[in-house]
């Protein structure tokens, strides 16, 4: 949640804190600020143009402190969400205003959304994380590696990246982390992936205080309000069933506009109700076990290959991308090999179309027809169409 006006930002945080749901507050940075332009937000606001986030670096520290005054506390932490590849300015500002939780990572905030060189980004993230560790009381960093491009990425790469970014934060001295994972095209596959993520965290992060945060689908969103609600409810059910601690929601207006405070509240309440309604385990079927083992094998291969490159995680990450051991499907960053590609298969699951140099023991890629623009669109719209159709079918059988 992010608004240009400090008053509205405070109003949103108060509303989030006072709603019935167990929630945390978020301040989301605007996109000018993500590109280090701290003047344009103020110019736009002076002309009555709304921003798409809160420009924390454009305001004096006191302005933000006043927003948080009497709201931020142990039972209502506030997290800064920002998307910057070079985060030191943001982290220093957080130190000034007293926010100790933020998120991102050297891979996830470098590759998908910009063109800052990966080696510069890893260095900047290491330095900023060290700064946090040295200057903040109880700093907390959440990985964004479980989201990456938001679509068309097979779950094993999301899980591996989330773990690798957490290890990266740990190498800078951070002791409290959360691991992101973004809902995909198949609940069954996501459940398997979350199980693998938690197992990998137990294995690699056992000295850290960690939890898992599930993100409601980050790709092209359903057009209908009821489709959007079903997708949100499913993500809440997924998080609850997979034993995850936190959920980041999407609102019914996701496809159309920046959400209002009311949109955000409604999403929180809907998600909370959906999670509470989960009474049964969805079933640990044979198929889920197969998916889990498939994902686990791929995750292990990736993590081990990256860590084997170097004990220095900065060098390991940069070297891995150079060799294509890490390769994010559809990511156009100049440092991404662009040889790996994901697809939505006929079962609606995310699989590999090609794996490039990803270090898998057995090639899991599936034969695919040549990727045309129409096929890409179909895959990008798959979840949106699925939920819009589900919602329309439900309406069809309801008595008038």
């Amino acid at each position: 949640m992010g608004f240009g006006s400090p008053a509205k930002m405070r109003q949103g945080l108060i509303a989030t804190r006072e709603c019935s749901v167990c929630s945390i507050g978020t301040l989301t940075l605007d996109s000018y600020s993500r590109g280090c332009d701290y003047l344009s937000p103020l110019v736009d606001l002076s002309q009555g143009i709304e921003l798409n986030g809160y420009p924390i670096l454009s305001y004096p520290a006191d302005t933000t402190r006043q927003i948080l005054e009497g709201i931020q506390c142990d039972s209502f932490p506030v997290q800064m969400r920002h998307g910057t590849p070079l985060p030191m300015d943001v982290f220093k500002k957080l130190g000034e205003v007293g926010i100790n939780a933020t998120e991102g990572g050297p891979i996830s905030y470098c590759m998908p959304y910009g063109r800052v060189a990966l080696k510069d980004c890893t260095k900047a993230w290491f330095n900023a994380s060290r700064y946090m560790q040295g200057e903040f009381e109880q700093p907390h960093l959440e990985t964004f590696g479980g989201c990456l491009m938001g679509q068309l990425c097979p779950p094993s790469l999301l899980v591996a990246t989330s773990i690798l970014e957490a290890l990266f934060f740990a190498s800078a001295g951070i002791r409290s982390v959360s691991l992101s994972y973004c809902q995909g095209t198949s609940l069954q596959q996501d459940y398997a992936a979350l199980t693998v993520l938690r197992n990998q965290a137990l294995r690699y992060l056992n000295r850290l205080d960690w939890h898992v945060v599930v993100y409601t689908y980050m790709g092209m969103y359903p057009k209908s309000a009821s489709g959007a609600e079903m997708l949100l409810r499913d993500s809440a059910g997924l998080a609850q069933t997979a034993g995850c601690e936190r959920l980041i929601v999407k609102t019914r207006s996701e496809r159309y506009r920046i959400p209002s405070i009311e949109d955000n509240l409604q999403a929180l309440i809907t998600a909370d109700q959906a999670a509470a309604a989960i009474t049964n385990h969805p079933g640990y079927t044979v198929r889920t076990a197969e998916l889990q083992s498939e994902i686990e094998e791929e995750v292990q291969s990736i993590i081990e290959s990256v860590l084997n490159l170097s004990s220095d995680l900065q060098a390991a990450i940069v070297g891995s991308f150079e060799r294509g051991i890490l390769d994010i499907p559809f990511c156009l960053h100049p440092d991404n090999a662009q040889q790996a590609r994901g697809l939505v298969d006929e079962n609606g699951q995310l699989k590999w179309a090609k794996t490039g140099n990803l270090p898998f023991k057995h090639d899991p890629s599936q034969k695919q027809k040549p990727l045309t623009p129409e096929l890409l669109l179909w895959q990008l719209e798959y979840v949106a169409n699925k939920y819009d159709n589900l919602a329309a079918n439900q309406k069809g059988i309801r008595p008038k």
């Binding site: 993500r34 998307g83 998908p112 959304y113 960053h333 623009p373 890409l376 669109l377 990008l380």
Partner: protein
């Protein structure tokens, strides 16, 4: 028929890339070889790419609502390059924050120097038609010039005598 080169770019503030992934596939389906510059492209990077490569087409695709303003700055700089005088440069996407601004934006960007502006609900269709026409004309002139080279005389073109385009 050799492939034509197309430069695909966005504006400096735009970090969205799915539109660029889609556009690349679309251009490749019309047999272009595409250099896709990715997200957040500085003006200088576009200038360098245009100066280095032999291009038939430059496509600016942007969806973050700042394309009208930053796109205007971009085209003015590009048209100052000696090699960009006759280069086809087009722009499209969601170029403003408000929905109703399309027509004004279109006129303004054409006046600033773009050869085509593709906005509004049917922009992808119009763009596809534009590049299809562009490919036919290019193929036609390639075939014509190859024929001229072999036979050493000029051909007078007319619609009736137009050569069939290759299978698109």
């Amino acid at each position: 028929m050799h492939k034509e080169r197309c430069l695909l770019t966005t504006i400096q503030s735009d970090s969205h890339t799915w539109n660029l992934v889609y556009m690349q596939l679309l251009l490749e389906s019309y047999d272009y070889e595409v250099n896709n510059l990715g997200a957040c492209v500085p003006v200088q990077t576009v200038e360098e790419a245009i100066s280095k490569e032999r291009l038939s087409l430059v496509v600016v695709s942007s969806v973050n609502g700042s394309g009208a303003t930053q796109g205007r700055t971009l085209i003015r700089k590009l048209r100052q390059l000696p090699c960009a005088g006759r280069l086809r440069i087009v722009i499209g996407g969601n170029l403003t924050v408000g929905e109703g601004d399309d027509l004004c934006v279109r006129e303004d960007l054409l006046a600033a120097g773009y050869d085509g502006v593709f906005v509004g609900p049917h922009s992808t269709q119009s763009f596809s038609q534009y590049i299809a026409r562009n490919r036919i004309e290019t193929c036609h002139s390639q075939v014509t010039s190859a024929y001229q080279q072999r036979h050493d005389f000029t051909i007078t073109q007319s619609a009736d005598q137009a050569l069939s385009p290759p299978n698109l």
